[in-house]
């Protein structure tokens, strides 16, 4: 009897291997982006983080997603990648 042959229902993709950027040696003088995803209380949380980063000598830039339910617009991702050395995303409520 012939063996069953099935067609693969998956995307047949291997996850893209992305190289992690090197860790920053120091925060002093570095520009760190803080991304608020528009969840409640995200602002208060990121305000605290911002104070800590400034005390460590970092420059801070703030960003905001229009809504947490949707992926960030490409323009926003590009803006952050151009303007910052690192980014912290305020993920949950």
């Amino acid at each position: 009897m012939q063996n069953t042959v099935m067609l693969d229902p998956t995307a047949e993709l291997k996850p893209t291997e992305r190289q992690v950027l090197p860790r920053l040696d120091t925060l002093s003088g570095a520009t760190v982006g803080l991304l608020d995803i528009s969840k409640p209380r995200g602002k208060e949380f990121l305000d605290e983080i911002e104070q800590h980063l400034i005390s460590l000598g970092a420059n801070v830039k703030r960003y905001m997603k229009p809504t947490f339910a949707r992926v960030a617009p490409q323009e926003l991702n590009q803006k952050i990648s151009v303007e910052c050395d690192a980014v912290i995303e305020g993920l949950a409520d």
């Binding site: 069953t4 042959v5 067609l7 229902p9 339910a69 949707r70």
Partner: protein
């Protein structure tokens, strides 16, 4: 000798054809005359015709399929440049003319129709396509070992939602693909959450897995296109911690054509079309999009509708607009609408005999969507039962009248809804304190109708709290 002028003949026959058996003497005559310039292909029994030694085995049907043989016997006449003529069945004068043998089959009857070629047997076409159209499908083939259980192997490979799936063999996938004019390699869109380009073929494979009959496939394709509309926000809906997932409502002639249930137990189990169409989209998002529960799917509890949640609307009352009509389509259009939701929340009202009473009664229940103290927080679908619909219609109201009455009853001062009011911390922000608010945003309450003729119960399908432009909303797609 100039080969291109040499006539060559091919005859395709099968034993299980009385006409083929009848013309055996004529075939013998042809063989004697043309010898190596004649080939007789036999589709079923390579020993037939016994009186002729020189014949070719076409039990694989490769020659018959690749030469579009529909009837046996078929006589094909060719020269060096290819086929120049063919005839099928037994038409003595035509066979004599094409072969140039005036005495061919002299003793036989003048005319006898042939039989269907084996390539035309039921279910054979897909088998032949799978066998001979090697470039049609591009998905990876996975051959199971002899000892492997095909059902279990689908579970083992992670293709299932937890229930058994139909193993997606090439033949089953081809049957599915035959129901669309779209090419298997056409890209239908990018499936979230991994944003993977998805072909029509991959949709077909997942429709097979889900248990769809081929005739459901156009609805499945439309459901995928609906899910990919930006307004639906499938990505966020899959990722959310909230309960919601796609709820499908199908309208129009297609619901009758494929046997969807809009009567008794319409939202329940037991109807293959409803069950498997809803499931196909979920499996596609799992298998192609990578939306795995506990992975990118972060639902706190989820809901049972994440297996499947699909139903047809009862369109038997011409005076009651269907959901598709509310969305700008006609009753003649076949439409699938997708709503980010979960539920059901039943509404019992066995006492109301007027539309006005029923509107007040149902509005009371609708106030509890998400939380009785949260207004404008989520959309919803109100599913009106035929008996409740009858009460509304007997009051002389249209669906629009009923919707307006609901809206009036769902508009209240917000003072009692504010955070902390009624001793409950949850509630509306203080800024609403002196405002009048509606439970639903504009276009946030949809009304559909389905179910059995008996039962004065309607139901609420509550929506995702990320509603409207901030998240997802009802979308409709022509099938």
């Amino acid at each position: 000798m100039n080969q291109s002028n040499t006539k060559k003949f091919v005859v395709v026959v099968k034993r299980d054809c009385p006409t083929c058996e009848l013309i055996e003497p004529a075939l013998k005559q042809l063989t004697d005359q043309y010898k190596n310039d004649l080939i007789i292909y036999v589709q079923d029994d390579p020993s037939f015709p016994e009186s002729i030694e020189q014949k070719a085995d076409d039990t694989s049907l490769e020659f018959s399929y690749t030469h579009n043989i529909e009837i046996v016997p078929t006589l094909i006449c060719s020269n060096g440049d290819g086929e120049v003529a063919r005839t099928f069945g037994w038409d003595k004068s035509e066979w004599q003319r094409l072969t140039g043998i005036d005495s061919l089959g002299e003793s036989l009857t003048d005319f006898k129709p042939g039989c269907g070629s084996k390539t035309q047997d039921p279910g054979m076409e897909e088998q032949l396509i799978a066998r001979f159209e090697k470039n049609l499908l591009s998905s990876r083939s996975i051959e199971l070992a002899e000892s492997e259980d095909e059902m279990e192997s689908c579970f083992d490979r992670g293709w299932s939602d937890g229930l058994p799936v139909i193993p997606p063999t090439a033949i089953r996938v081809i049957r599915m693909l035959k129901q669309t004019s779209r090419s298997p390699d056409e890209i239908i869109g990018k499936i979230p959450p991994n944003k993977v380009s998805c072909t029509v073929e991959k949709v077909a494979i997942n429709a097979v897995l889900a248990g769809c009959k081929p005739e459901y496939f156009p609805v499945v394709l439309a459901s995928v296109e609906a899910a990919l509309q930006d307004e639906f926000c499938m990505h966020g809906l899959l990722c959310t911690t909230y309960f919601s997932s796609p709820v499908m409502i199908v309208n129009g002639p297609i619901t009758k054509e494929i046997g969807m249930n809009s009567g008794i137990n319409a939202l329940g189990q037991g109807n293959r079309a409803s069950a498997t169409i809803g499931r196909a989209l979920q499996l596609l998002i799992r298998n192609v999009g990578g939306g795995i529960p506990g992975g990118i799917d972060r639902a706190t509890m989820g809901n049972p509708g994440k297996y499947t949640f699909c139903f047809a609307e009862d369109e038997s009352d011409d005076g009651w607009a269907t959901l598709a009509q509310d969305r700008g389509f006609t009753r003649l259009d076949s439409i699938i609408s997708l709503f980010p939701g979960e539920g059901l929340q039943p509404i019992v009202d066995q006492k109301s005999r007027t539309a006005a009473s029923l509107a007040k009664s149902i509005a009371k229940s609708l106030q509890t969507v998400v939380n009785a103290k949260l207004y404008g927080a989520a959309d919803a679908i109100l599913v009106v039962s035929p008996e409740h619909r009858r009460v509304i219609r007997e009051s002389g109201w249209t669906k629009e009248n009923f919707r307006e009455a609901l809206s009036e009853n769902l508009t209240i001062p917000a003072s009692d809804l504010i955070i902390g009011a009624q001793g409950i911390s949850e509630g509306m922000p203080e800024v609403f304190k002196d405002q009048v608010v509606n439970k639903f945003r504009d276009d946030g309450l949809h009304i559909a109708s389905t179910g059995a003729k008996a039962g004065m119960f309607s139901a609420i399908i509550s929506g995702w709290v990320a509603r409207g432009e901030k998240g997802g909303q009802l979308v409709s797609q022509k099938i």
